[in-house]
Amino acid sequence: MDKLAFIARRLLQGLAALLLIAVMNFMLVRAAPGDPATVMAGESGAADEVFLQQLRERFDLDKPLPAQLATYLGQLARLDLGTSYRQQAPVLDLILERLPATLLLTGSAFLLSLAMGVALGVWASTQVGTWKDSAISVLATLFYATPLYWLALLAVLVFAVWLPWLPAFGYQTVGGGHEGVARWLDIGHHLILPTLVLSMFYMAIYARMTRASMLEVASQDFVKTARAKGLPPGRVLRAHVLRNALLPVVTLAGLQAGAMVGGAVLIETVFAWPGIGRLLFDALTQRDYSLLLGTFLVTAALAVAFNVITDLVYTLVDPRIELS
């Protein structure tokens, strides 16, 4: 019951935050120069006043701002995210079309980066003062500092052009006619390169964080006690050091998980991965207000959900922590 009450309370707080985010985003996007009509006029190569006025009337952009905000909030109350100006389709449908691709990519990258990062961090903490520890630190710094966009292009060049091992772009082999297991294998094949690239940056962070946290916990008195009691080193590492060292990593992972969904836009762009990050970026450059706001709201909602999940994971990692 405590857990359920906690979740309910956090979700209510989340809803209030989402409402505030919705209003703030509404005002912010309209502060940027240009509107959907401007963009479509620019792309058509032949706009006149009538054309622009038609577009503005079609998108209700000719109405006063408070009226537009009221319409938007009324739609939200009905769980209606509106219609995309540009794509002329319901925003919710467009987001739901793209969300699975992003969740697949970011989920895979998240798990890989966490698993590899923690493993490398743990190993590095046991190799302090050796060349192995230095190598991991240097690699972590390298992957942290290297721009993701550049790394992605380099990966495409090496693994898709020079060594044609992996696909250069896309989610699946278009026109390949794959079905069932073959289709999933094909998607998996396309997933390898973008997942590896996206996970490098986060793996570097988790590796460094885990190493530092492990070293800090390992110097604590209770660990010395455990060793003094004659417990095997492996058991001390897993049951005593790692378990306690994971808390800051869990905090960071929870924050990163939410950010990853919207922040995968660079990877989605380079690999033409049809995810929500790209949808958001396209909506921004096209000033597709309703799609932009809908995407912001959904990614914010995911961030709220991930925060709640993170808090729940804490209690699994450390039973001493109470939900309150």
Partner: protein
Amino acid sequence: MHINRRTAIAHSAAIMGWLAAGIPITAAAQQKKVLNIALFPEPNSLVAGAGSTGPAQTVVGNLYDCLLRFDENLKAQPQLATEWSTSADQLTYTFQLKKGVKWHDGKPFTADDVVFTFDKFLRHYQPRVRIAMGSVESVKAVDPHTVVFKLHTPFPAFLTLMDASSSPIVPRHQLADADLTKPLTVPPVGTGPFKLKEWQRGAFIHLEKNTDYHMAGLPAIDNVYWHIIPDAASRAAAFESGKVDVLPGGTAEYFDVARLAKLPGVEVTTKGWEKFSPFAWLWMNHRNPLFQNLKLRQAVLHAIDRPAMAKVIWHGYATPATGPFNQRTPFYTSKTTQYPRDTAKARKLLEEAGYKGETIRLLPLPFGETWTRMAEMVRLNLTQAGFKVETVSADLPGTISRQSNWDFDLTFTFVYQSGDPAVGVARSYVSSEINKGSPFNNVGGYSNPKVDELFAQGAREPNPTRRAALYAEVQAILADDAVAGWLLELNFPTVYRTKVTNLVSSAVGINDSLGRASIN
């Protein structure tokens, strides 16, 4: 006859081998011809008219046929219209329509569809058609396969609007009752060589062959996949990795085009842009007192090194401009005042203009790396001539917004001159097109009643010789007045694999050519 096991196995293997050898041949014969093309940005809609963006028109033109096509010499060719005639006074245009043409949903194409397209549908959606229909008194279906347009004023450019660049023909039975003020959510139904099979937003558009196409034996390609790839470097990599067969003009950076052109089995063509005649120049904001000074405007023109820009930034895929008309635009004349690069002269003119070092804001076009470098080169050239220039950055909507609201001193633009000065040039220089809210009208704000009159006469004059004289005069005036910083006549090279043949067969290129292309 006794056949032992070993013999049976050997014979069976031989038979299987023979069969297996045959299978690839059979499979090859049955293998579908597939063309993969890169596309960006993603179209907003594939319904003709509603799909108004450049990329949308690239796809739409292969879904919807038009009355005419234009070859590379801008000569009209039949498509849905088999014959056409113009009355001696150029006030009546009669089109005979092809019989037996069907829409993708099987319904018959008739003259009523053409009437609906021009009189209602495109009049609403297409600014160029809307302007042209201002000259039209009536458009009527005389019989199911004859359409007559009656004009109240001659408009010699009228026929140039009858192709994929302006007027795809739409089905009356599908759209007659549609509320054109609301988003159109119907599927695209055309008479073109391809039908829409699937559109996975953010990923690809799949067109399949229209097996009932009205031209026997066409299309030769079974499936076309348009891959939505947002990043230019990724598009180049996709081509190089073999997953994409065609990079249409504008989808690859010029330094990539130069590199990809050297690969085996790759060809590059600059054909397919004759109707568009893309032209890049610098708008000078005539509302700014600095640019009201002729000598200062002349100084801008003399400062810029167009040949170097064409060679270095555009890798040779551009031609230095010589005046306000692209050389491929009808009625172009070279007999206008020229402004070759002369930094010393530019400095002298600047001094004579009384320039005191005021900062000039230069607004580039955010269309990719080539345009960024072009802006940097212009800034450098102007600085060398003594101008003080500050580059102002904005994304695409921000840039369009600034241009539309005249919030700039110098800004880049590139426009299509669309095959006739009345359609694609006049709007850039006439006073009636000085209106906020559009980046494609007279953004610079230049106003000259003589120029207005010449363009108006040119639009109505039926005699080609007199028309040429009118446009020659207007070009001379615009050049003398140094109205804008004309830069380059652009080429947008299409990069494609040698196995693709007849890829470009009209003056609008891939936009309506895929029905005639084939793959070896």
